[in-house]
Symmetry: C3
Subunit: 138 residues, 3 copies
Amino acid sequence: MKSYRRELWFEVSSRRGLINITPQVQDAIRESGVKEGLVLVNAMHITASVFINDDERGLHQDFEVWLEKLAPELPYSQYQHNGAENNGDAHLKRTIMGREVVVAITEGKLDFGPWEQIFYGEFDGQRRKRVLIKVIGE
Amino acid sequence: MKSYRRELWFEVSSRRGLINITPQVQDAIRESGVKEGLVLVNAMHITASVFINDDERGLHQDFEVWLEKLAPELPYSQYQHNGAENNGDAHLKRTIMGREVVVAITEGKLDFGPWEQIFYGEFDGQRRKRVLIKVIGE
Amino acid sequence: MKSYRRELWFEVSSRRGLINITPQVQDAIRESGVKEGLVLVNAMHITASVFINDDERGLHQDFEVWLEKLAPELPYSQYQHNGAENNGDAHLKRTIMGREVVVAITEGKLDFGPWEQIFYGEFDGQRRKRVLIKVIGE
């Protein structure tokens, strides 16, 4: 069994943002040499997500509006977690969007449906944060 | 290490529906010959889910009502994603329910608690769509 | 390829509660002898979760308030699932929080960011319930 590890680093200049990381994940798989296996891609921070959906600008605006409805940023005082920090909403938003994805590797590639793309979802940006890619297989 | 891949195809006749796919996943594991490992089961489309919960009709009605409350289908105009399509709500519903499950394989079987069942969740049906099963192990 | 399996048992004395299970997962990895691989940690019951977030008391109170807003326990009559049971809300709360996590194992340890901790989330307690840990790798 082979295994391979890579970190991706991000510094999103706004509080929230979505970044398509599919090419970086595909590149990590290529470098791993794994032809059949699984790849785990996860946020290493608890106010960020990795998820799979469509790379469509309107949808990304819908996610922003929807997450603000389900877990509003303001007022900060609504969250017990806030005080030293003000990112209570980001922990909840990341819970909705998910920490990680696991994707099949088949014939050395991401085994994807027609519109699947992997995104890093930042909900408490303006600092350096990481994503982990771990590949296992043969 | 062994690996095995199978696709399941669905065409749900309504916009939304839940289908128990546990027998098909168990059958794929049997055919893979894997006794100890992991199985990934994921929707290959971004308006559908694979998730684990109870096969109980009342609960499935509760999911329908609840998802319509958290991410209503109508009015279509509330979503920027809608226009050429009208499935903005389906992308959000699938986000709540999840894209994938990873299940342990032990002694050649799904290593499940007493009530766990695997479902395909369709949120934008009336077209042919796929689920991927990927088994790895020995 | 090595594989290893362990169950954790819980009996939470209240209806809802969160338990940090990171040390038990790390101990299972150590006992497995796996240095590079993946660990799956999942609730074996459909009214409980395994998720990763911060071990911070204020945040845990925020989760309680937030889940009660998104999927209230009362009135029981709002859920078709209730009748013989009254845990309809627990199925929905677990859906938000997630069934499982998959974590990378690197050099024999959980490959974690600075604040990641694994929790068992109980939403229908006062009975004995289980979590499954499955390790695969080499």
